[in-house]
């Protein structure tokens, strides 16, 4: 019975040009519905019944460049109540409807309503700058987008890049150092790209020429980059911090007129170059992969290299090129950690975000915009955590810090389930 329903739910994602079959089982849809109903119950218990009737929450909706908007003040009880009821209704709809199409959208909407109710409750008797929160979300998302795009580039051509974390570190280190020595941030960004590309090349060299297991090479590159940047930081940067490790950072570039748009202006149109670059790359990689001859070749190599070879595509050169380009993208993402935000390199500053980017890529089903969605979710939970810490909601800070990771686990196991990577992902290729 279940299998039949699963087949019925299969939809070919033709609109995006990928020959991919997505299967959402009926059971999972029901599970999502039940989960939303539970969330709604939790919201009513926690955010409505146990809150004084007069409690109010204020969301500030204005940040500097935008046209000023009046703050939004809401009664906690009423707002959270309405939101919870809506969330529960969506859950019931999912359970009753049982249809797979649009299930994720409905679930996402329901979850967003719950989050809104939660924020209203968390901000009771206080003010929450919602725009700032979105800005923080985007800033935390940006490096993940670079990392996930790097993964997409490599894995679509059939090479697993688990070394993103290492390429991040290399890019962050060299970006900071060259940016600091030369005083030219663009040169720093270039250096970050080169550093990432270099380790992309090393991955390609060992994995393609010598057919070493790609996961092993990746793990080793991360270990190497971690050790090397730690060593060089202590041995080279620390003794001469002012010359070698004090780069400027890229200033935000306001896009005229657009930055005046209320709420969205400061979030989307007053960011530094890395954010814009990530957005451009996102579109370029997506269009490139799914709309161009180049992308078709890359995907052919990633799915069925033997077949690609027989029609005259040079499998190994496609893979070399993609893995190096992937490294370059991760290297630029790495540079954003230093010359895009804090302006100095410190040991292991990427703190495992390379792996989170990898998870985002898998969660996003090896697709650029899927990865963006996953990265935004993580970025938002990072932002949520830092704002909740300020609001002092009575949740111990380690649990807040844990939240992004718990959410990733919940999402990966609850919503994503089994995923299908490119068929030849990770398999070494030898010409016959």
């Amino acid at each position: 019975m279940r299998a039949v329903r699963a087949t019925a739910g299969a939809e070919v994602a033709e609109a995006t040009g990928a020959a991919e079959v997505r299967i959402v089982s009926g059971g999972r849809v029901r599970g999502m519905g039940v989960f939303l109903v539970l969330l709604a119950a939790l919201a009513i218990l926690g955010f409505v019944l146990r809150v004084p009737a007069k409690a109010h929450a204020t969301f500030l909706l204005t940040a500097p460049p935008a046209i000023s908007v009046a703050p939004l003040t809401m009664s906690v009880r009423w707002t959270a109540g309405v939101l919870a009821v809506l969330c529960g209704a969506l859950g019931v709809l999912l359970v009753v409807r049982r249809q797979q199409r649009g299930a994720y959208l409905l679930f996402g909407l329901g979850f967003a309503l719950f989050l809104w109710a939660f924020l209203v409750w968390a901000a009771r008797g206080a003010q929450l700058n919602f725009v700032e929160m979105l800005v923080t979300t985007l800033i935390s998302t940006t490096p993940l987008v670079f990392g996930a795009l790097s993964g997409v580039m490599c894995e679509r051509s059939g090479v697993i890049n688990i070394a993103i974390e290492g390429q991040f570190l290399a890019g962050a280190f060299l970006g900071a150092m060259i940016g600091s020595v030369s005083g030219d941030l663009w040169l720093g960004m270039l250096a970050g790209a080169v550093a990432g590309g270099l380790f992309g090349w090393l991955l390609a060299f060992l994995a393609l020429r010598y057919a070493v297991d790609q996961i092993i090479v990746g793990v080793v590159i991360v270990a190497f980059c971690t050790g090397l940047t730690n060593f060089l930081t202590e041995q080279v940067l620390t003794p001469d911090q002012t010359t070698l490790n004090s780069p400027q950072t890229f200033a935000p570039i306001a896009i005229p007129l657009f930055d005046k748009i209320p709420i969205l202006g400061p979030v989307l149109f007053d960011e530094n170059i890395f954010v814009y670059l990530a957005a451009i790359l996102l579109v370029v990689v997506h269009v490139g992969l799914f709309r161009t001859r180049w992308g078709l070749r890359v995907r052919a190599v990633g799915e069925h290299p033997r077949a690609a070879e027989t029609v005259g595509i040079h499998v190994l050169s496609v893979r070399y090129r993609n893995v190096i380009l992937g490294g370059v993208i991760a290297g630029i993402g790495g540079a954003s950690f230093t010359i895009g935000s804090v302006g100095e390199f410190s040991s292991e500053m990427t703190a495992g975000l390379g792996y989170v980017a990898l998870a985002a890529m898998i969660f996003g089903r090896w697709r650029p915009f899927g990865a963006l969605g996953a990265s935004l979710l993580f970025g938002f939970s990072v932002s949520l955590q830092s704002f909740l810490a300020v609001l002092n909601v009575g949740i111990p800070s380690p649990f807040l810090a844990m939240a992004p990771y718990v959410i990733t686990i919940a999402v990966v196991s609850g919503l994503v389930g089994r995923v299908r990577p490119p068929a030849a992902d990770g398999a070494p290729y030898r010409r016959e």
Binding site: I160, L206, Y210, V219, A223, E234, F399, M402, Y405, G426
Partner: protein, 418 residues
């Protein structure tokens, strides 16, 4: 684990090349040795390139060649000598023993320290290796280690027992804690298909934060402390020293050795271990033969987690006696490289763990004596694994002929395993 290598075409042998050819048909041991040598050479280059005085002297090599070579040799030699004498054997300590008849403890301290730091690496490395050879990527040794240490610590301070019962109980608790932490991603993978690479990595951060929380509340926090420091292990729960109180080598070492023997028996002789191997080598064949792949996935992560938990317990109850934020440091990730270097075989993991332990201890001594950051040891470790994983590259560098030393390292599964 290793797929068929490509043997180079043999040429007609010449008499004088026979010994060389013997070496050339290099087995895994020779390739491993040459990998270590190559990694040390690259490490030396790194020392030279980052020591300004040496660079300056090399810049004037035309006018003062002797000085340049001398300085270079001294910088590299001092560093590696400090590493060796800190990790294995120091002649000056021997001299002290010979001349005075005292100082035996100092003589054996380096070796003892190497064993102490190898112990958790071997235990956690075994866990990762069992996963790798079954096609399960357990990147979560760090989190499982913390879970094990927390459980062991709890049993340590909460229960009062004589040492003969308390110590085994603590070890058991540690293994159980790690197993529980391994069970969760295993269960999620079996039940929902969530990939263990993602979930185990995420659980590392969950456990690190959980540790931070527990260190700041009762009953784990040291009473009267505002810092995030745990209570200490009582004397009855500490692993006894093996060679007297002066040397820190303790029962944890024997636990690790027993685990190596157990893992070797398990993978080669037991039915369950056999089914693990089948699933690792050919999941489809295993399923056809009636092996429940989901059950195997859960069990592998439970066993892997238990070994990581023991690793955390061995260092907590053996040498550290309390927990602090970020406990375990890099042991969880180093366990992965140890497993790879040991080619996922129990005895291989033992030697890899000993080598890594020696490099860690030696690195600390090097930093103390010469001021060169101990992170050089991590760089060398990563390079060793890189070379070992690429025997063909090593053969090319050293112009070895023949196909010895194995082909490029492959794990049990290709890719994500879908």
């Amino acid at each position: 684990m290793t797929s068929g290598g490509e043997a180079a075409a043999p040429r007609a042998p010449r008499a004088w090349t026979v010994p060389l050819r013997k070496l050339a048909q290099a087995n895994v041991a020779v390739v491993t040795l040459l990998s270590v040598v190559s990694a040390l050479v690259l490490g030396a280059v790194l020392i030279i390139a980052t020591t300004p005085a040496v660079l300056h002297a090399i810049g004037h090599i035309g006018s003062h060649p002797g000085r340049a070579l001398g300085l270079t040799g001294a910088a590299v030699g001092d560093a590696y000598w400090a590493m060796f004498s800190g990790a294995i054997f120091s002649p000056s300590a021997l001299g002290h023993v010979v001349s005075t008849g005292h100082g035996w403890v100092a003589l054996f301290t380096p070796l003892s320290e190497t064993l102490v730091s190898a112990t958790p690496l071997v235990l956690a490395g075994l866990g990762v290796a069992i996963g790798f050879s079954t096609g399960v990527f357990n990147i979560g040794a760090q989190g499982q280690l913390i879970a094990g240490a927390l459980a062991a610590l709890y049993v340590g301070f909460e229960v009062q027992l004589p040492i003969g019962i308390h110590v085994p109980l603590v070890l058991l608790a540690g293994a159980a804690g790690g197993a529980a932490a391994g069970f969760v991603p295993g269960f999620l993978k079996a039940r929902t298909g969530a990939h263990e690479v993602i979930t185990t990595i995420m659980f590392n951060y969950v456990m690190l934060n959980l540790l931070d929380y527990l260190l700041s509340v009762s009953p784990f926090q040291q009473p009267g402390q505002s810092n995030a420091i745990s209570r200490t292990m009582p004397a009855t729960a500490r692993l006894p020293h093996l060679f007297g109180s002066g040397l820190r080598a303790n029962l944890g070492l024997l636990v690790a050795l027993a685990a190596v023997a157990g893992a070797a028996w398990f993978t080669r002789r037991s039915t369950l271990g056999f089914s693990f191997r089948v699933i690792g080598l050919n999941p489809a064949a295993g399923k056809t033969a009636g092996i429940d792949a989901r059950r195997v996935t859960v069990l592998v992560l439970v066993i892997s987690g238990a070994l990581a938990g023991l690793a955390g317990t061995a260092s907590l109850a053996g040498t550290d006696f309390f927990l602090s934020s970020g406990y375990g440091g890099n042991i969880g990730f180093d366990a992965i490289t140890v497993a790879l270097l040991g080619r996922n075989r129990p005895v291989g993991v033992l030697f890899a763990g000993l080598l890594f332990g020696a490099l860690d201890v030696g690195g600390r001594n090097m930093q103390a004596v010469t001021g060169i950051p101990l992170d050089l040891a991590s760089v060398i470790q990563a390079l060793i694994v890189m070379f070992v994983a690429t025997p063909v590259l090593v053969r090319e560098i050293f112009r070895l002929r023949g196909g010895g030393g194995g082909s490029s390292l492959q794990l049990a599964t290709g890719g994500w395993g879908g």
